[in-house]
C-alpha cells in the first residue's frame, strides 16, 4: 500500500485516493499535422518500461483532483519523490548511484515504501497450486 505525498494538498494520503496515469514528461508533438506515422505512433504508444527508476504521472482523483509527478522504483516500489506539474525530477536513473551513497533523497513527503521488501525473496517466489 502506497502512502503518497500530494504536493498540492501538502499531506500524505492513502493510495486509493490516487490513480496512476502512466509515464510523465511526454511532450505532445508541436506540429501534429506534420508528424510522420513513426513520430505520431511513438508519441501515442511507445513508453519507457524500465526496471528501476521511473517518472510517472498520478492524479489525486479523490482529493484535489490535480495531476502531479512521482519518481518511483518499479522493482522496490519505493517512492523517491513527488513533485508538481512543470517541475523536473531531482532523482533520475543517471543519478541513482549518487543517491545510494548519500542515502535516500527526499521530497517534502519523505520517502515511502510498500509492505513487502524485495530482498525477502520468498515473497517473490510463491507459486500457485
Amino acid at each position: 500500500m502506497f502512502y503518497i505525498f500530494c504536493p498540492y494538498c501538502d499531506e500524505r494520503r492513502e493510495e486509493e485516493e490516487f490513480h496512476p496515469s502512466g509515464q510523465a514528461h511526454i511532450t505532445r508533438p508541436a506540429d501534429p499535422e506534420n508528424c510522420s506515422d513513426e513520430e505520431w505512433g511513438d508519441y501515442l504508444f511507445f513508453r519507457d518500461n524500465p526496471r528501476g527508476i521511473h517518472h510517472e504521472l498520478w492524479v489525486h482523483r479523490l482529493g484535489c483532483r490535480k495531476f502531479f509527478n512521482i519518481t518511483r522504483d518499479t522493482t522496490t516500489y519505493e517512492i523517491l519523490e513527488t513533485y508538481p506539474m512543470g517541475e523536473r525530477p531531482t532523482v533520475t536513473a543517471e543519478r541513482a548511484g549518487v543517491r545510494q551513497e548519500q542515502g535516500v533523497q527526499t521530497a517534502d513527503g519523505g520517502w515511502q515504501t510498500v509492505g513487502a521488501r524485495p530482498e525477502n525473496s520468498k515473497l517473490n517466489e510463491e507459486t500457485p497450486s
Binding site: P20, D37, D42, F46, R47, N49, P128
Partner: protein, 416 residues
C-alpha cells in the same frame, strides 16, 4: 524419452515408483545453435517444441534466467477460451484452442485440459449489446459462442446469484462451451519434456545479459554462462520483454504491470464452469484440487515486483462476493502476482524487429496462458521460415505506427 502409459504406471509400481526418468536433461550450453529462444515459460517452450516437431529444427536452445515455467505460466488463472471480437484475434486464439484439444496426446503428458465452458456476464444494457455483438462476431468466425439468459445461467452455474436483488443484477452472458481450464504447470513441463526429447537444450539459471548485433543482424546473445551464437533469436519474455528490447536498442509499446490472483482453501466441488465479469471485475473457477481460483485486476502503475497491491485484492473479493454471495466466508489461502506486459490495444506482438533475425513474441498482457500452444506454433513457423505466419502477421509491431490496431479492449471480454 520414456512414454507414459497405463502399462508404464503398472510397471513402475513394481519398483515402488523409484525409477522414473528425469523429465529433461540439464545440458551445458553449446557454442552455437540454429535458434535461440529467450524465455523458458509456456510460450517459449511451446515454440521450441513446435520448432523441433513440426519444422525439424532441433538445434535449439531455450534460455531461462530462473527455472522453467516459473513466471506467469505458474501464476495465471489457467483459463482457456477464444471468444475474441476481432477476426485476427479470434483466429489466433481459436488456432490455439484447436491445438489444446489434442495437446495431451501430442505431448504424451496430461495437461488436464477440461472444456467446462466460460460465462462472460453482462450486468448492464451496454454489456448485453457488447455480448451480442461479440457472440455474433464469434459465430461468423466459427467459434461456438451463444447468448444465454439468466435462467440458463442459473442452470449452468447454480452458485451464481442471478436474482434481481443483486447490486448489479445479471442480465445475460455469453457462453462458450468449448472453453475451459488446463493445468498450468503440466503445460510447461509437457512442452519442456517433449522439446528436450527431440534434442532441444533447456538452459536454466542462464540469464541473457545482452545481444550480439552487427550490421543490423543478430549474431547471438551474451549470457552469464558465456556467449552463445545463433542467427535467429526469439524473445518470449513476457513482463521482461521491455528490458530485453532495451538491450537490443529497441523500444516496445509495452507496460509491465503486476497482475495478481489468489486461491481459497479447498472446497468440495461447487463451480461447474469459469465465470468472468467485466462489470464487477472478477473471475473465478474451481481447480481439480478444490480451491477457488480467483483472478484480479492489474495494478495500474508499472511494477516488476511479483506481488500485487492490497486494494486490488479487496476489490476483487468484493466482486466475487457480489457474484457468489455464498463465498463470503470462504478463507483465502494464498495470493501472488505475475508481471504482465500489456499492449495499448490488448493484443500481443508477434513480430520481426529492425534487427534482422531478432523476433519478439510478447505483449500477451493479462491473457497469454490460453494462447500457449497457438502462440508457440505460429511463432515457431515464423522463426523456421523467416516470414511471419499468416495468423501472426497482423500482430506486427508496425501496427502501432500504421494505425492498424486490433482493439480488443473491453469488447473481447478481456477482464482488465
Amino acid at each position: 524419452m520414456e512414454r507414459y502409459s497405463g502399462f508404464g504406471l503398472f510397471k513402475h509400481a513394481l519398483s515402488h515408483h523409484e525409477n522414473w526418468q528425469r523429465h529433461w536433461r540439464n545440458p551445458t550450453p553449446k557454442k552455437r545453435y540454429d535458434v535461440i529462444i529467450v524465455g523458458g515459460g509456456g510460450h517459449g517452450l511451446a515454440t521450441a517444441w513446435y520448432l523441433a516437431k513440426e519444422f525439424g529444427i532441433t538445434n535449439v536452445a531455450v534460455i531461462e534466467k530462473g527455472w522453467l515455467g516459473g513466471g506467469n505460466t505458474a501464476r495465471n488463472t489457467t483459463i482457456v477460451r477464444s471468444n475474441y471480437l476481432w477476426d485476427e484475434a479470434a483466429q489466433l486464439y481459436n488456432h490455439s484452442l484447436d491445438l489444446w484439444k489434442g495437446l495431451s496426446q501430442d505431448l504424451n503428458y496430461n495437461v488436464m485440459f477440461s472444456q467446462r465452458g466460460v460465462l462472460n456476464l453482462a450486468h448492464t444494457l451496454q454489456d448485453m449489446r457488447d455480448v451480442q455483438r461479440r457472440v455474433n462476431a464469434n459465430r461468423l468466425n466459427g467459434i461456438d459462442s451463444e447468448v444465454v439468459t439468466p435462467e440458463r445461467i442459473k442452470e449452468i452455474e447454480p452458485a451464481l446469484d442471478t436474482s434481481k436483488r443483486a447490486r448489479y443484477p445479471i442480465m445475460g452472458a455469453s457462453w462458450q462451451q468449448s472453453a475451459g481450464v488446463a493445468r498450468h504447470d503440466a503445460v510447461a513441463w509437457g512442452f519442456a519434456r517433449g522439446a528436450d526429447s527431440l534434442g532441444v537444450d533447456l538452459l536454466q539459471n542462464t540469464e541473457v545479459t545482452g545481444f550480439r548485433i552487427r550490421d543490423g543482424k543478430v549474431l547471438g546473445v551474451h549470457t552469464n554462462r558465456g556467449d552463445i551464437e545463433a542467427n535467429t533469436v526469439g524473445c518470449v519474455a513476457a513482463g521482461n520483454s521491455g528490458v530485453l528490447a532495451n538491450m537490443a536498442g529497441l523500444k516496445l509499446p509495452l507496460e509491465s504491470h503486476p497482475l495478481q490472483a489468489l486461491v481459497s482453501e479447498p472446497l468440495k466441488p461447487i463451480l461447474n464452469t469459469v465465470t468472468m465479469s467485466n462489470h464487477v471485475h472478477g473471475y473465478c473457477s474451481q481447480s481439480d484440487k478444490g480451491d477457488l481460483v480467483i483472478g484480479a485486476g492489474i495494478d495500474g502503475y508499472l511494477g516488476y515486483g511479483q506481488r500485487g497491491s492490497f486494494p486490488t485484492v479487496e476489490h476483487t473479493l468484493q466482486a466475487i462476493v457480489e457474484m457468489f454471495p455464498m463465498f463470503s466466508r470462504v478463507r483465502m489461502n494464498r495470493q501472488w502476482g505475475g508481471i504482465v506486459d500489456t499492449c495499448p490495444d490488448a493484443c500481443p506482438i508477434l513480430s520481426k524487429t529492425k534487427v534482422k533475425g531478432l523476433y519478439f513474441n510478447c505483449g500477451w498482457g493479462t491473457g497469454g496462458f490460453k494462447a500457449t500452444p497457438g502462440s508457440g506454433h505460429v511463432f515457431a513457423a515464423s522463426l523456421a521460415k523467416g516470414e511471419m505466419h499468416p495468423i501472426a502477421a497482423p500482430f506486427s509491431i508496425d501496427r502501432f505506427n500504421t494505425g492498424a490496431l486490433i482493439d480488443e479492449h473491453g469488447a473481447a471480454g478481456v477482464a482488465h
